[in-house]
Subunit: 338 residues, 4 copies
Amino acid sequence: MTDKLRLGLVGTGRIGRLHVATLKQRVPQAELISVTDVNMQSAQECAEQYGIKQVAASLDDILADDTIDAVVICSSTDTHAPFITQAAKAGKHIFCEKPIAANLAAIDAALAAVEEADVKLMIGFNRRFDSNAARIKSAIDAGEIGIPHLMHIISRDPAPPPIEYIKVSGGIFFDMMIHDFDMARFLLGDVEEVYAAGGVMVDPAIGEAGDIDTACVTLKFKNGAIGTIDNSRQAVYGYDQRIEVFGSKGAAKAENVYPNAVTISTDQTVQQDKPLHFFIERYVASYQTELAAFVDSVLQGTPSPVSGQDGHAPVVLAMAALRSLKENRPISLSEMAV
Amino acid sequence: MTDKLRLGLVGTGRIGRLHVATLKQRVPQAELISVTDVNMQSAQECAEQYGIKQVAASLDDILADDTIDAVVICSSTDTHAPFITQAAKAGKHIFCEKPIAANLAAIDAALAAVEEADVKLMIGFNRRFDSNAARIKSAIDAGEIGIPHLMHIISRDPAPPPIEYIKVSGGIFFDMMIHDFDMARFLLGDVEEVYAAGGVMVDPAIGEAGDIDTACVTLKFKNGAIGTIDNSRQAVYGYDQRIEVFGSKGAAKAENVYPNAVTISTDQTVQQDKPLHFFIERYVASYQTELAAFVDSVLQGTPSPVSGQDGHAPVVLAMAALRSLKENRPISLSEMAV
Amino acid sequence: MTDKLRLGLVGTGRIGRLHVATLKQRVPQAELISVTDVNMQSAQECAEQYGIKQVAASLDDILADDTIDAVVICSSTDTHAPFITQAAKAGKHIFCEKPIAANLAAIDAALAAVEEADVKLMIGFNRRFDSNAARIKSAIDAGEIGIPHLMHIISRDPAPPPIEYIKVSGGIFFDMMIHDFDMARFLLGDVEEVYAAGGVMVDPAIGEAGDIDTACVTLKFKNGAIGTIDNSRQAVYGYDQRIEVFGSKGAAKAENVYPNAVTISTDQTVQQDKPLHFFIERYVASYQTELAAFVDSVLQGTPSPVSGQDGHAPVVLAMAALRSLKENRPISLSEMAV
Amino acid sequence: MTDKLRLGLVGTGRIGRLHVATLKQRVPQAELISVTDVNMQSAQECAEQYGIKQVAASLDDILADDTIDAVVICSSTDTHAPFITQAAKAGKHIFCEKPIAANLAAIDAALAAVEEADVKLMIGFNRRFDSNAARIKSAIDAGEIGIPHLMHIISRDPAPPPIEYIKVSGGIFFDMMIHDFDMARFLLGDVEEVYAAGGVMVDPAIGEAGDIDTACVTLKFKNGAIGTIDNSRQAVYGYDQRIEVFGSKGAAKAENVYPNAVTISTDQTVQQDKPLHFFIERYVASYQTELAAFVDSVLQGTPSPVSGQDGHAPVVLAMAALRSLKENRPISLSEMAV
């Protein structure tokens, strides 16, 4: 293996281009060789915009390139599992956007292929690499707050996506809370029971599309701690992303992040600007840290920072939450077994 | 009725003396005439300390005094309901510390006596009169945050009470969360379903005494909103009392209150002193506003600021929470009907 | 001397009544026996309102009362120095509102009488007893921030007083910044040079009355530290009272104090209510601590918490500031010597 | 002129490389063609690291390249003025790091050459492009705080530079406060009088090198406002960069910026991590905005965002401050005229 990690990328949509820009401009130990997309024009444009040498006709071509060490999968969710399997069989290390798949059988098949090929797989739960989440994690790991007892995650979007998107999103637990399930596991470990409450409060059309727009889920962790996750599709004041962990020796609390640290006092009020608007603004630095962590883990042969199992578990939690909401009772994860 | 309200008070323990001091020093429209206690020495000391003219031999004597308009009941919880009944029959207006009683039959009997006598009854949920709670309530009432969707109350004590107290306290839902149930109702109205999670995380002795020390309860409100209440018997950093309501047009969030507004920056950290230690320090101003509100409501003939029904409802919620914890399922309040 | 300190008070205007209320309701070791005022009706009303037994015809009558240990002087500024002298000659301990006088000869005469009579004199610089100022002082004294290098005081009123008051106030340095000069000395010790900049920015009528309404003064302290004081007669967002001390090992910063700890987030902004409006709201607790400190110092024979010299020095600083403004140059305190 | 601005850069030291990285990675409308340095090895390394096609033997070679539109001058301060003159004569637009020169004659000569050649010159006062400074500026410009009356800038480094650097730095007013003089002018406009106080408080060796390490300067602005700038070479808690402007309708206050928004509460304190450590961390985003503003101003033919006069004025202020310190009196800028 050379000094730099040579990569190919499939899927040059919004998140794909963000990763292309990050790999080209912010991860010096990465060398992005080739990109592809089902929409070849998108791949071409992307390659030109960011100075990528090669536009591959398909993922197959990237996988056939012996000089490429690893692939970044940013294509549509339904392709994640088969692409992971293909890439693993080709002996490439894999960074894949979340979620791996919406059903466990597909996930399990992909993870089996990864294990069989003995390649590295990292799932793109970027928020773990945010400075707030990382600081809370380090506080827990360093014992600054003792043994965790309670946890609260607040995660609210500035506005709902289009109804057409809602219809194919898998619903709030799979599309939105999946990040928070991962954060909960990242901070406090595995969950054993889930209770979900929720409703349609923001837009009746979301209800008509078969989803809810507001949810509050209680998690019982294996270590005995209890947590809640609060999601809303619409916080009019902007992206609301807070975390709090309370333990035997203290508490760690992450507040929102703002575009500036200026307060304006007038004869009416003392005010500041609203929080950073949405995930692109709020989590931009986390994408860089995330991809650098992937590249380093491959180059240095260390474990994947976010493993295949970390991609599997939140999907189970989303399934349990959905079942809890429907049956109006707490669901033990033992009920969700294959 | 004279310009000032003439009062008698029964129960000169900790909370009783706090009310005596408040009535004497901070509520100019009140005239505290007489105090009594099962421990006559305590009543004597209290009268001397605060310059109360009369020490009554019993509540009966206070009730027999025609010049007294109202009574303040601060005696032990088991006496609240019978004393309310007695006072109502004597035609006195009543301020009674929470809770009215631990069982609904006793509460109902007392409330019936109050209704029959057509006197005013106010229950001592002082936190409603705290400047933070009042500001959030006014934000909701004024439409500043639109229709409430989600609510979170965090309420953690600095340290658990003695185990002997725990044993007779009725448990965390009746002794501690009762305030938060009231706050939830104050802010968002009536509840229709309760789900409780909890455990023994602070001290195994609390578990051996039959109680839990950490709890997280989900409430579904009649108006469709969802809320959580988080209680711990021990926050090592001090009294943690926060409230947050999220709505269609914004959110209102009350942070903790501190002994000063000073930040110290050193080569290690940027820090401030811990929050005000416990309820005496934290809620001192609320007791004054509360008693003034009672006195004014009697003098001006306006409705009781915290009605008998407001004393009844949180007890039902505590019962539902306890049942939910035991049966590990959400409990509809319709199941709790007589 | 008995267990309680027996006091008389002269001057039942705004600040006098505040002290009466405080002594009656918040300082249990004090017994306020008698009040008087040039306006006898005011004295009568005050006595009735707060239950003071005796209304004296004049300060002479109070001083003639052998059962009275100490006097509280809240009358108009021009009477402070002669009343201190009279009280000292009568052997009474003295609490006197600031300033002692507008000219140094009068101050010196009063202080000489106090020394001669060997009574205790405390000057009413209440802000020293505010929890923010006290916390910063304790940070300095405990070495939390090392040796002080820089200090900034911001002190802005919500609105200017009436022009008629401005005309007799002695000007911004004597009427307003006097408190900040005292705070500077309380925190960092004696000053040796003063440079004043200022102007009429709020209201031309203040300039026509011979005063300025905005000032920024630089102080060089004897210990080598440098500080600034910023005054404005009108901060439209309310009373702005901040202090910051920067030292070799860190910094201590006191922010404003607010009526509640609630933040409201809307689609426009994240906001909180304005700071507490003015000194009555902001410094209410400091008056209690201040008077208790006076009473305790007399009862326990400890040094005056705010000495006569502490009353003298800020007047010299105000004089130096005024001279600096007129001559547009830094003024050494050595130039201000008698 | 093409779509992209083609640039050469001279000086590949610390700030030079920061600009190279920014131009290559963050300013898509810029095309950095060529770099050079007196140390050719440094230029070579830089070119390799950032993929710059060409390493020029000298600035002359860059200026001789007709395909290059503009130069970025990051060489040592003594070369700034002659390089500006050379570049102007070659018809190149110029971005030059601050300060232009330490003496006014050199500055004036360079500015004359720029005017003669009618090229664009922008001075690298990057803090104007910081989100905090920009927000305060926009608050002033939009009238949110009315007419400015008072201004305070606090600007403290985490630790002093090496004494060898201090000796050639020109002193605290030229090396450190120059940024704050620019900020003061950016926010409130031209100054007409300067008063400086200062001392050696951090390290006696700085005094022995002929400099001070702590300073507090008062500025009287032409518009009547008054401001202060507070500098220390050592704030042990890290880079302290705050700004406050107070006006007739309110105030705008910029607080420090932190590496995360996490608060840790323990049984000792409520704390957060120290502010971002130094200018590289704190102002990283401002360098990108700054260079993009330069490139855009050239491409679009708009006025230079930070003009040659903006480079001249702070040097005059630094000179006036130094003279004020030595003569211990306020210095009118009229005294500083040629």
